[in-house]
Amino acid sequence: MADAPKLVNLTVDGKAITAPAGTLLIDACKNAGIEIPSFCYYPGLSVQGACRMCLVKIEKMPKLQTSCTTVVGEGMVVTTENDEIHQARKSMLELVLANHPLDCPVCDAGGQCELQDMTFTYGAAESKFVDIKNHRDEQQWSPVVYFDRPRCILCYRCVRVCGEGMDVWALGIQQRGVSSVIAPNMEDHLECEECGMCIDICPVGALTSGAYRYKTRPWEMNHVATVCTHCGDGCVTTLGVRRSDTGMEIMRGDNRDKSGINGDFLCIKGRYAFDFSKEPERITVPLIRRNSKLEPATWEAAFELIASKLKEVRDRDGGQAIGVIGSNRTTNEENYLLQKFARLVLATNNIDHHRTADYPGFVSALAGTQNMTASMRDVASAPAILLIGNDPTEQHPLLAWQIRNNVRLNKARLYTVNSNQIKLRRQSTVFHLISAGSEGAFAQFLVGNDSAASSVGDPQALNSLRDKLRGEQGLVIAFGSEIRGEHIKPLVQFAQSVGAKLICLGDYANSRGAADMGLYPDLLPGYYPVSQLTGSKDEDWMGKAPKQPGLTLQEMFSAAAGGRLRALYVVGSNPVARYNLDPFALKNTFTVVQDMFLTETATLADVVLPAANAYEKGGTFTNTCGDLQRLQKAGDVTTVKSDFEIIVRIANAMGYDVHGLVPFAPGLRADMGQTRGAESGEADRHKVWLTRQGIEPKLSPFDPLALLDEIQRLVPGYEVSRLNLMAGNDQHTQVPDIGSGELPSHPELIVPSEDTLFTSGTLGRYSKTLNSVMENDRAVPEDAGIPAD
């Protein structure tokens, strides 16, 4: 972005507009509010000029010109609508429709079809064509991609998005002339990343989704844009929902709303893997163990039993005899509520979650710095990117997309350091293969520790790489969980020296949020050490939070085996399978699991509560870069409850005043202080904050937004624009500056999820679509173990 491009003046339909030199005419017009129709042109993909819909009249040119191939010129005089152009477009539609079947009533695209819209606009309704149309049979290319060949209008969008956008190149063109046909890479089927981008980008109904085919019609659904619940990238997926017997059924996921952080992108998980929510094996009623069998029960009985047991253990053995395990897939509000519940109601710091990245170490290393984290959007515009470890194509598909597009469209330089031949090497300016496990040594080498180079690889190549990196302005460094603990510090030092920004890659949808919200035995929300809880900070916790660090997840299980942990509360997690823990450790521990399925952990529980998934509730997620986004409730299963509600109801059943957990207001009472236990004379800090922010107090104890207020108040970095957040925009959060000192980070406890494009922990196990694609078998590494969480 060194110098702004020259501006060019031109006249379009009598309106004077300016556009940067080099802009395509169709884009310049669009920016000026003049829409030019087109099938084959797609922003960000190579120019095609095939559909001839964008013809415009440019003065001094004898023929009509395609505005998608014409670059704006100084003094250009353009007409985008007149009789000649209208006729040209109309006849183009007549030609397309000559061989396009008129089966709109059955076609999945009916109602959201660009060809339909244009036919309405240009009135090519009367058919001049009386001969027999060319027909070819429909093909199934994969469980998720169907191709109805006669409907194809050969705009080549799918071919380009698959090749240029996804770098998969699975689609191509066979034959010529009117026999031209889009063909998959394996003759009669596709072997690809099954992302379904080709379906989304298809302007007609030629490519249809196996998951949604012939189920319903676009106008029959509500379209809810929410955040995907799979990997840590935080793509927005638009879920189409429709009323069903049990609430709202999710019919499809797609990306019609392109306003999200992911733009055009969605991978197979975001698009198809919502089907775990309608899996018949899903638990829909609470289960209580009676006579060593889990039997259906009412919610009230379950709450009653849990409350009495937890109270009994707390009052008899103290809080340290209770453990709480949180989830990487619950919302920030639920995570915050869970740790608050553990610390205030259960009086314990024994709270942990499955750690997939060393966020405390990252925050420690960033102490004393400002604005050193990059957002997902930064990746798409940074002039250079350094990627250490991880395989974004498999584990962070959006990150990989951002990188690929940045390299392709902006000529960004990608430096990749990895111990495997990952696919992004194809986009890399420099790809450096290092020996496995030497990522940390590479970080040391970056800050000038030349002796570290010997264990990494060829010193000469490394030196030249380091020299190049030192010369990069605006570098973004993304690193996987290979770099943790002491190795993050040198990386941050190097980033500081070149003015780079950092991304610490974690694996699940809200891994970052779980860390930020303090699902740690030794850290409060905002990475505040429990041991330093004094003064006004202590007041925030009403002086009631225990100040002794609690047990980590592994310690809880050994404590349970040793009979010291009497109760365990697991929320949306499957530690037994994930850490391969001894199931008998829990035999004397009262265990409550809330989950969607009977996982290895849930089968051991005394009470299993059916929980709603992230598509069935509101709240916020923080992606791996720290971008905060809003979740909106899409699906609904009437008999399950959100984790938020379950936690509040357990606290209530235990006799705890829930106002102390969720700062909601009972309607007309303006004084919030009393509801939060503030005595007379003591300022209610939360109310002061609410007033200052102009936020109304919430009326429901189950409204996560009531807790979002508190999170925004108490967690440093989360004080982002509420307006933008509620409008559905991603808001980058900064990590809190902890000043001096080190945070306890336990790098040895980090276990990466090992998920691929086609697996997604427990959700992936119960997603029929993910398991149906043939690439699924190939993709899972043999030693990955049981996918959990």
């Binding site: 030609l95 034959q175 002339g177």
Partner: protein, 442 residues
Amino acid sequence: MADLVSHPAEVKVVSKRFGKGAANIDRYLELDGYKAVQKALGMDPDAIINEVKTSALRGRGGAGFATGMKWSFVPKQSAKPKYVLCNGDESEPGTCKDRLILEHDPHSVIEGVMIAGLAIGARIGYIYIRGEYRYLSVIMEKAIADAYARGFLGKNIFGSGRDFDVYWHGGAGAYEVGEESALMESLEGKRGIPRIKPPFPAVVGLFGGPTVINNVETLASVPPIILQGGEWFASLGTPKNGGTRLYCLNGHINNPGVYELPVGFNLLRMINEVGGGIWKGRKLKAVTPGGSSCPILKAEECDIAMDFDTLMKAGSMLGSGGVVILDDQTCMVKYALRTIKFYQHESCGWCIPCREGTDWLKKSLTRFHAGAGLKKDIDNIQYLAENMLGRTFCALGDAAAMPTISIVKKFRNEFEDHLEGRPCPYDPEAVTQQLPVLAGAH
């Protein structure tokens, strides 16, 4: 081996070595071979281009762009290598001149490529030979090998210290590849699909380098121009239309064949004198003057000079010199159908109007010719062709639309004769069974 014909009215420049065994390099050298390139080696590149400009040589491939002008567009300095490309993908129905040049005088093409290379500063030339001309590639391969063996090609050509390489490349059988940018795609190993212009090949062409691409006949005309001077060449033709052309007379005449005549030769004379008149004593009905993509001329329009500008004024084109003569017993609907069948088969399928339009036209005309036509089909055919014209990605759509429009306009009566379920009235052997008129189509 095609039979050679000749006529006293011919002016032999390009075809002067035809039938003299010039495919043999020794024989070629005896017939003034490789003298022009040696002369050009001693000339300044600008002088070569000026000589060609003076000659008023215009491209023989169809569009008729001034060759010297084309060469002068190539930038002098270029980071990428420059290329000379010889377009031997001669596929226009009715045109068969390049085939004779490649067969009888392959060295003149190599020489032309070399001179063009010297003029623009290229060191590599490609001769692209149509896929169906497989036997010509054998001749060309031998010619190139012989030239290398004599040191005319390769390092230090003719001891001048300069290098030049020539390769031949065979097509896979696609008319579309005759379009210059599609030819470059094909040569690069991709699908033969035209490129978006600009940039033009002179700036970004083959493998991204500046490229001059010329027809076989154009390049074969260059050595005589260098040897005998541009003015001499220009004087053979009419103003702005220098030199001679190879006219491929075919169709319903007595002496079909390739004749080299000055540009601007009268069409009627060409048919009656050179071609020996219409066969079987019939009368002339129509002529396609420059290959099947040109608008047709009715018999009464045929008293015309065959040069680019005059034909343009008459609403047709000189094109690639394929003169197709039709006698008065020809069914024009059938002729239109035959033409459109070709374009439907050869359309690359890239853009909508050409892909769908040619198919639609073919379907309509097939039905029409078989006698199942409707009155509104005549207007529909014209409407379709007019809406294809000028809106396609490359010129192939125009090439299909232009003859169709002209035939419908000029021979509407013949279309009307096919109406009401009558099969072709001109063809006694036409389908005898009556096709049903499509139900509800009126």
